[in-house]
Structure formats: C-alpha cells, structure tokens
Point group: C2
C-alpha cells in the first residue's frame, strides 16, 4: 500500500452535501459556510528528515512549512486567510524560536494570513499546518475538470527544487557530486528552500482553467492526479517543459523535471482558445507560463506519454514522483 492507496482506501468519501461541497481528494476540502464564499481547507504534516533537513535554518523552515501550505490554496485559486500551526519541538530555545517566528510572521503578513490556532508539544521537529482560504461562491480550481483537447500548462521553471535538494544532499554527503555554476546552485537551493506559492496566478485562473494542482510531488505524479480524477490521459512534450538550460547537462535532469517535487509551480489545463488570455494574465502576474502538452481521451492502459519533440521519440518513465512511504 502506498500513500495514495491509503488515502483512497481510508480517507476518501463521497459524503458531501449542501455545505460540504468537496471532501478529501483535491488540494483542499471545500465548505460553503457562507452564502457568498466557499472556504478551502487543507492540512499538511512536515517531519524532520523527510520534508526538511534537521539542520535547516529556522527562518527557512518557517518559510517552507508556510509556503507549501499556501501553495495548496494557490492550486485551488483561493485567497489564503487563516492558519493553525502545531509544532513538535525538542525544546523551547528562545533564539531559535525568535528566528522561526520572525520569518513566520513575515510570510503571514506578506500574504495577509492570520494565525488563529496553535499547539506545541515536545517532539522531534514535526509541524502541522491547517490552512483556510476563500474563493467567491462556486469558483475554485479542481483536479477533476480537465477536458479532452485542453492545453496543459505549467508556471515558472521545473527541476530547480529537485536540483536544489540534490545539492543539499551533497552538503549532507548523501549522494554523488555534480557540477553547476555557483549562481545556478544558489538559484536551485533557493527554489528548494523558498518556493513561491502562485497565489495571484491561481486567483486569476479561477474563471480560465479547467483543472489545476500544485507540483509538490513531481510533474508526472501530480499530472496523474488530474488525469485520474478527470478520467483523461495526456501527451507531454519533454522539450517544452521549462527549466534552466544549465541543468540540462546533468545526468538527473529528466528525473528532476518529470519526477522532482518541491517546485510548487502550478500545473493547470485550459481550453486552447484561452491561450492568449492566459499568456496575458501570466504577464501581469510576472510569472512565466508554458504549454507542455495536451489532454487526450482516457487511455486506460497509460495515463500519460512523454515525447521528445525534436525526434518524436517516446521517453520511458520509470518512477513518476514522490511517495511518502516508499521513497527515501
């Protein structure tokens, strides 16, 4: 059983009603508490050694645990409003906590989010965040709306966070070395430690995209969630996936852009007639977007196929992304 089987088997339910519009299975649950707004609620647990290195700087840690949760709101097109934070900490070290909370407050302020609940326990660096965001009633980007013929888009550049993680692992002597220019290294590490949740873009896409998700576990795995829930398949053009040209010479480049998580860019699908409008929105948000493929009719034997445009060759996929129970 992997993480996703687990969620399907134990957590999923179709137990919705007029108030609970959507339960488990998307980036957030959707509750219509109010006549005018829908509320999007999600929860995430982050554990030392799995989601961050134990010696991560407290300010980077605070940034990261917030950013990955704010990104879930971006994937719903929601405006984040409230968070609740639980922290398991080995001790209450004032110097560490001052840095952690200064960074946390800075991010909360930047996104106009209020911390409304908390719990602290003695534990081995484990955090849980619950985040609540809102959209106007009836809106909200889902995973299950992709249509045949939709363009598949991604924001930003992929593979940087995966390269950043590999560089961090080098520091911790966990894998072999590879060479990159110092400036590129810094850019990749920054993308890994401090990804930017695409809140503005998500909100602008509310009336434009048919489906959306944030890329936390790897492009193909997260695309897979959209395809499964929309009952579609997809064709992806490998050379159109945006990345840094300097990364292309690295042996792990294909794995980084196809299966590397942690970029927290948006992956979304939209009607081909919306291309110009989407380009314009992205320009206004100062976030580059790229078309990387097409949604096709469901092929029950294969969720997605990845081709190289130049020569039409198909790339064989071994590992689609990150599973919290089977990977290390």
């Amino acid at each position: 059983m992997n993480e996703f089987d687990f969620i399907r088997h134990y957590l999923s339910s179709n137990n919705t009603d007029d108030e609970l519009l959507h339960g488990i299975g998307d980036d957030a649950a959707v509750v219509r508490f109010s006549p005018d707004f829908d509320y999007h609620i999600s929860t995430d647990m982050l554990i030392a050694g799995r989601h961050f290195f134990r010696d991560i700087a407290p300010d980077d840690l605070a940034y990261r645990i917030l950013a990955v949760n704010i990104s879930d709101m971006a994937a719903m097109g929601a405006t984040p409003k409230y968070i609740l934070l639980s922290a398991g900490l080995p001790k209450l070290d004032k110097k560490w906590l001052d840095l952690f909370f200064a960074s946390l407050q800075k991010v909360l302020k930047e996104y106009h989010i209020k911390l409304i609940g908390g719990d602290t326990v003695k534990g081995d660096f484990v955090f849980n965040i619950t985040i609540i965001g809102e959209t106007p009633k009836g809106l909200g980007l889902k995973r299950n709306g992709a249509n045949e013929g939709d363009d598949i888009w991604v924001s930003g550049k992929l593979g940087l966070a995966a390269a950043g993680l590999a560089l961090e692992k080098q520091k911790h002597n966990q894998n072999n070395s590879f060479r990159l220019p110092e400036k590129i290294k810094q850019q990749c590490i920054k993308q890994f430690l401090r990804p930017t949740p695409r809140i503005e873009l998500g909100k602008e896409l509310l009336t434009m995209a048919h489906s959306a998700i944030d890329i936390s576990d790897g492009l193909l795995q997260d695309l897979g969630h959209i395809l499964q829930q929309s009952q579609k398949s997809a064709v992806i053009y490998f050379d159109q996936i945006p990345s840094l040209s300097e990364l292309k010479s690295c042996a792990d480049y294909p794995q980084w852009i196809l299966s590397g998580g942690d970029d927290y860019e948006l992956l979304f699908t939209a009607d081909t007639t919306k291309s110009a409008q989407i380009e314009e929105i992205a320009y206004e948000c100062c976030i580059p977007v790229h078309k990387i493929g097409t949604i096709i009719q469901q092929d029950e034997s294969v969720l997605y196929r990845v081709f190289e445009c130049e020569n039409g060759r198909e790339i064989q996929i071994k590992n689609s992304g990150f599973d919290h129970f089977t990977d290390d």
Copy 2:
C-alpha cells in the same frame, strides 16, 4: 520558557476583526464565516510516548485522538462538524489501519462529524487533528467570562484518568504499584483511554455558563486559564470535588484530582441563581455536575486557594498541572 509562555509570546495576537472574532488563547478560534453561525476551530498534535503509549491498541488510539479534540468543541459549547487528520506512521500496516479507521469512523458517525482532509507521512506515530464546530451566531463558551460570585462547576468525576494513567504506567513499569479493586482499575483505565467529550452538556450551557474549559491538563491549571483570562481568583473546596471514593485512600489522590489531566470533563462557571437550571440540564444530559467553589475578586498574589471544608484547613499546592515541555 514553558508551553504557556511560548503560546503567549509567539502565538497570541489581538488581530481580530468582524470575521475573526477570537484568535489564539481559548479552546478554539472563532470565525464568523456566515451571518447565522460562528465557527470554532482548534488544532491538536498528539505524539507517541507523550500523549499515548506506543503500544496502545489502534482502536483506543483513534478514539482518544478524536475525543480530546471533540472535547475542545464541548468546551466552546459547539457542535463538532468537520475534522482534518494528519498521521505520521512508521509503516502502512493494513491490519493496524483497519482497526484504527474502523474505530475512527465509529466515533465520527456517533458525533456526526465529517473527515474532510488528511495527510499521511512516514513518521514515528504522530497525529494532528484540526476540528471545526459551530454555534449559533454570538454564542460560544469562552474562558474569559467568569464573574465574581459565580459558582464553579465540574461535570463527571475527576482523578479517574490520572489514576488510569498511573495504572497504565504500572503496566509499563514506570512507577510504583498501588492497590485498587479490579473493577475500579478498569473504570479508571477506561476513563483514561476513552474519555467522553461533553458535547451535549456544552451545548446546553451556551446560554447558562459565563465561562468554560475542558479539563485536559488538570483542574487547577485549567481553572487557572479561566481565572487569568477573566482576571479573577477562586476558592475551591477540596472535599466537594467529585471523584471515586475508592481512590481517596491512594497517596496520589490529591494530585490526581487537582492536577491530573485527561479527564476531559467540563469546568464552568455560572451565576448562583442558575443552580437549579444547571442541575436540571445535567440531569437531562445524564451527566452529574458538582459545585466545587466560587469565583472571587482578583487577588494578584494568588490565583486560587484550596480548602478542606471539614476543618477549614488550606491545602498547599505544589504543582498545578501538566506542562508539555517541563513534565514527563
């Protein structure tokens, strides 16, 4: 710095508005999403070895992590509606998970609560629950409303869970033995493993009580939160604290009833003129309630004093309750 200093220093804020009625500092935050209802939201992290024994049966564990969160709603007088569950588990063991989730679903069904969000990670038995409940607009039991002259009430019987914990520690060879009849032992262990959240009583008290809290960290410590937030002091009559007569011969009895946590009974204050009505409500809910003291004007030198009624002697208090960072 202890847990409560930490919360005051880093988490508290008066950053409320028309929508966020109450932030950190009570059993739950209160958000007015809707024109008719207020929503009460709280979060709790539970860690193996601190909040439960590592070898706890999966069905008892599921019950317990839900009950302690549902109890926060009882303390607000709220009807629990939704939960989000994060679970850090060492492995996905189907047999264990089947028992855990069968118990979880049973409790959710009993309280008409929907599981709307979840996260699973590989970790060392750590759980986080966020719970959302509702009250009619403007209602909700707070910690800060105790008035001078209020009677102080508790539901149920105190000290059983603390005795149950001591018995469980005996099993795990963590402390000295003490003797109790087998039936009493079972009752105490049940109170520790399967406390009953007082949802019905909390709801009935909405228009009756001036302040309320659930006793999770010990009577005196939780009373202390009410007193600090209400800027009052209190007198408690030791012999009026309801418990099991069989426990009174145990050396730790005073500590169990004054400082022992985990009973999850309600502690509340109300005008003396409401006594008969409160007795009636409690009778209808089938939950015994007892007056154990009186709210007095704030005495800045001492939050509470505990007396023996029989001889008027004052009991000296050493340790008021459980602090997650200083106790073991």
